[in-house]
Symmetry: C2
Subunit: 214 residues, 2 copies
């Protein structure tokens, strides 16, 4: 398997965690999102992923895109250890938590949206950070409520084993810190982060551990 990735891309980070949790080995093909105007925008990369986004996963000659679709693919193909429980309602709660990050937070504070906000609305870096903070705060506050409310409270977002929800949460916390969010409002989330980062699968997927890290 070959992963088109960028060390600081939180969507790439999700897939790296999932690959590690499943114990799968893979080759990294780094796509630098800031160098040369963005390597993801080249014709060569667009031929791999017309969305011009990372990550993309090449496996058995197929190219798969969108990090959650890739993680679900790994779950379908390599079911152990599971990243989702069997019960449909429990599974929906976890997928819902993952989507709070993957839909309501991450895309709105993604690099291309921040660049657009900055250029089109003539915003300073500080104002761009406030935009990012606003959406991250809304999402993390809602997610923390969902975690506390669910019936299987444990060390992770849902129960005592990492799931798709943790895979989305941990990379988002890196972005939250980069944009200056006050994470002390989310003690439950910070506890979960400690438990996740104690696992090599999470620790080894961190941006600073990647071969393309700067």
């Amino acid at each position: 398997m070959k992963l088109y990735t960028f060390f600081r891309s939180s969507a790439s980070y999700r897939v790296r965690i999932a690959l590690n949790l499943k114990g799968l080995s893979y080759e990294q093909a780094p796509i630098h999102l800031r160098r040369g105007g963005g390597e993801q925008l080249t014709a060569a990369y667009r031929a791999i992923n017309p969305q011009a986004l990372v990550p993309a996963l090449e496996d058995d000659g197929r190219i798969l895109t969108q990090s959650l679709a890739i993680v679900e693919y790994l779950e379908d193909k390599y079911p152990n250890p599971p990243l989702l429980p069997k019960d449909p309602a429990d599974k929906a709660i976890i997928r819902g938590m993952a989507l709070v990050i993957a839909c309501e937070v991450h895309p709105i504070q993604n690099l291309r949206v921040l660049n657009y906000v900055k250029a089109t609305f003539n915003q300073t870096d500080e104002q761009v950070n406030q935009w990012a903070q606003h959406w991250i705060d809304l999402g993390l506050a809602a997610l923390q409520e969902m975690i506390v409310a669910q019936p299987k409270r444990g060390k992770f977002c849902f129960g005592d084993a990492p799931t798709l929800a943790d895979i989305c949460l941990i990379p988002q916390l890196g972005n939250a810190r980069r944009y200056g969010c006050d994470l002390s409002k989310y003690p439950t989330i910070l506890e979960i982060e400690k438990h996740c980062n104690a696992l090599p699968a999470f620790a080894n997927a961190a941006p600073e551990k990647q071969p393309d890290a700067e």
Copy 2:
């Protein structure tokens, strides 16, 4: 089953299509997103969904949120007719198409983001529409390329039966028209739309057919 919904919410529209395709009957609990400052922001609704977003589905005493998690729940619980194929890579392609809409397009042109752009960046309605158009165009262009490139070209986004991808695409086209996008650039998508809307499951889920339509 009880669906907390708003007729014009495209995320609610996705779930209505899925419920119809599965032949499931359900009760509608309308949450008006513009009336009284937004009924989704009331304490009563936040107790149901702390994200303050529609839709939410109540089933067997559980509340499920996030439209894609709800559709996957319906797929897990009522597998026929299937909305996803069995092959993991095919499934990932379809989920990837759905996520292009659900992550990269819809949240960035969602009501609360448009309101924030308008108020914080002092934009006119026309400028807000340009923001929405920009992200919708990026997404639809990428999605059309993905549809054309995939191996099972047929009447729908993937093959000859509707899937999760079509469920996300059709509601997004309503938004695209509302914000003034030129859809003639997407002939493949417009063909798929005709095939979808010829099915009662899609036609009956349309905003104007809902009991809370204005």
